[in-house]
Symmetry: C2
Subunit: 442 residues, 2 copies
Amino acid sequence: MIRITYSNITRDLIGANGLTEDDLLAIDSAKIQDMFLKKSYPELAFLDLPKQDISEIKKIGEYARQFENFIVLGIGGSALGPRSIVEALSPFHNYLRKPRVFIYDNVDPLTLKKILEIIDLDKSLINVISKSGSTAETAASFMVLWQRLKDLGLSPQRHMVITTDPERGNLRKIVRDFHLRSLSIHPNVVGRYSVLSPVGLLTAEVVGIDCRDMLEGASEIGKKCLNFEVMENPALLFASALYQFNVLKKLNITVMLPYSDRLKAFSEWFCQLWAESLGKDGKGLIPYPSVGTTDQHSQLQAWMEGPKSFVVVFIAIEDYGVDIEIPVVFNEIEGLSYLSNHSLAELIKIEQEATEIALSKSGKPCITIQMPKIDAYHLGQLFHLFSIATAMAGFLFGVNPFNQPGVEEGKDLTYGMMGKRGYEKKIEEFLSYRKNKNRFVI
Amino acid sequence: MIRITYSNITRDLIGANGLTEDDLLAIDSAKIQDMFLKKSYPELAFLDLPKQDISEIKKIGEYARQFENFIVLGIGGSALGPRSIVEALSPFHNYLRKPRVFIYDNVDPLTLKKILEIIDLDKSLINVISKSGSTAETAASFMVLWQRLKDLGLSPQRHMVITTDPERGNLRKIVRDFHLRSLSIHPNVVGRYSVLSPVGLLTAEVVGIDCRDMLEGASEIGKKCLNFEVMENPALLFASALYQFNVLKKLNITVMLPYSDRLKAFSEWFCQLWAESLGKDGKGLIPYPSVGTTDQHSQLQAWMEGPKSFVVVFIAIEDYGVDIEIPVVFNEIEGLSYLSNHSLAELIKIEQEATEIALSKSGKPCITIQMPKIDAYHLGQLFHLFSIATAMAGFLFGVNPFNQPGVEEGKDLTYGMMGKRGYEKKIEEFLSYRKNKNRFVI
């Protein structure tokens, strides 16, 4: 089980910048409990993902493993979930194992061209992921690949799996009309809370991970997170701490800092979840994606001495699974020889703790998640812990953690310019803006 | 030449949140001019990188291209520079071309183990990059690979190139003692300003880029940036705008948002430069790494409706080099058919502008860099522009943009625990902290 160390947020350890136990308890946990138990937002359906029936995922996973390439078309949660699973659980996957995984989460034409240069579509399975079935970026690449298959005489029935709403949307209609393979995302599970749905789990199966292990980990931590005693619930305590640092200390940046290259994509997954859920009504905590030790040589300076805005969330790995000894070489050079007879795992762990101490000593709050090892079970725990903590933080801030109203305006302008019916008025707005913006160019 | 559109920072376009021309001119540009022209910090030596002699880089680049793998050991600027060059100028490089490039910028033991599984050291050249020659992470992996070569009967003289200070440090001593191939980093060019030195340029040559093109681009924009009329100098105007948004409007997050997968690593390069240079004395602007369209589905919600902290810097690509048409399929489904007869390049460009408009309409400042295409010449311009702008911003904030005093404490604690002589006192501090931190774990 992952454990969380909260010592370095306390006044005892970091002084006046820290929180007291009273601060942590001063939230309205009864309200949170009520909202969770009554599922006052239907989107809390993600809580039940650990108990889902995975037989269809298993079946399609087995089907997928006969291909040489597995291409995910999706954006936002539909890409970050799968990517964080592959990077964490099968690092350097495409060099070492098949099917190779390509995640196309943009509309950059060069990226898609390169993927099509590298793979043979005949030996590829394409997983199109969009809950709504109308995401413009995913729709565009889906249409391109649909036509490519047709041009090559390949059938979508063989080469595509659609992951979408069970009943509604364009993609579900196409699944029905063309009898395509498909997986369903529960109607109330929204994109950024969907990693433990077929959105992430199919990719897990494709790269050889038993998705049951992820769900088991999630289920275990889920129990702890639905106990509503603040001081015993790691998710509620996380939400309370970050909320109180914002309200009482005006800290508004949450750094996610795992000490493993394998969790870099996880860090980005967290950032989407946290930003899109909480950043509304002028409120919110800005997440910051990071990785240690690397960012000690990039961002640490600003966390230590820049604006007082940061709470740093470490993920410390207890067992890296492998280790490499640093040999006895250059014995005569003192600036190197001190490293001999230590190991890389020892060095990275000491650097993690040293960074934590340095921050704490200068009064900067940190939270440290102890992860026994990076495997499906514990990754499932991370996903579920932060999904729950994010929803709880949203409720504390009084915002809806499941919508994203702020992105609609950009979408509408795009629809207008792309000629979607009903958005004609946006064209004029777009063009008049374009004229104005060219006034001040150097 | 790249051009910068500043319209969307003005009051005319975004209303009360915007700056006036007077605000932009209210900086002490004479002081900046004086500091630059007199090189009041010797570290401004990076300004002269475009005129450097590249013959040795060319020679070693040619030597390197006979290998199947090129492994960079470096961290911070020594890794982000090379990585951003490879990703921008040779996307999907390792799938398509040789030598494959592996950048090991951490001490995660699993990452190094996987790299050693994938490559054959006999067919590999290792580029060790550390200006000081004493970076712990780089030293550790260097020592490991030195011993591996020895164990395999391979010679460092054939398989290593060291990029370091011309005179000082452990690595230079080893170069001399063992007659290794080496490149020199100018003694006054510090890590995060070194991408246009041999640090980045050797990797450019290795992946088949003529590094002269990068320097030529840098040289061209350098001329514009050393004209000290605020309104005609893209770097000074950038620095002035970001500084004034911080001082006058309390905005402290600078989002770097290129609309191309190829510039994702560039965005991280910028973030190191900006964070480590400016984040000190309680001041500073927090950089945020991003990529469009992807982050419209991740971070945009928070930029639109979260805390008022952001200035968004777009990089808009004019010519993606390739394009892919969106075909006429699913004509009967209105939610998809509007995309037909457009192209991916068209869609990504419209989304970029739509996002810019949406932000501007809601009073959020943006700056847009128009990049004609992603090639060595224009990438060199981006690197040089932002290096100069960062130094200028540092001078405006009154901080030293070339040091990083805030990371020393963590280093010293690590040295103590790793047994480096002179750091014995840090051990006790480390251990007593470790005891305290285990008090509050759930």
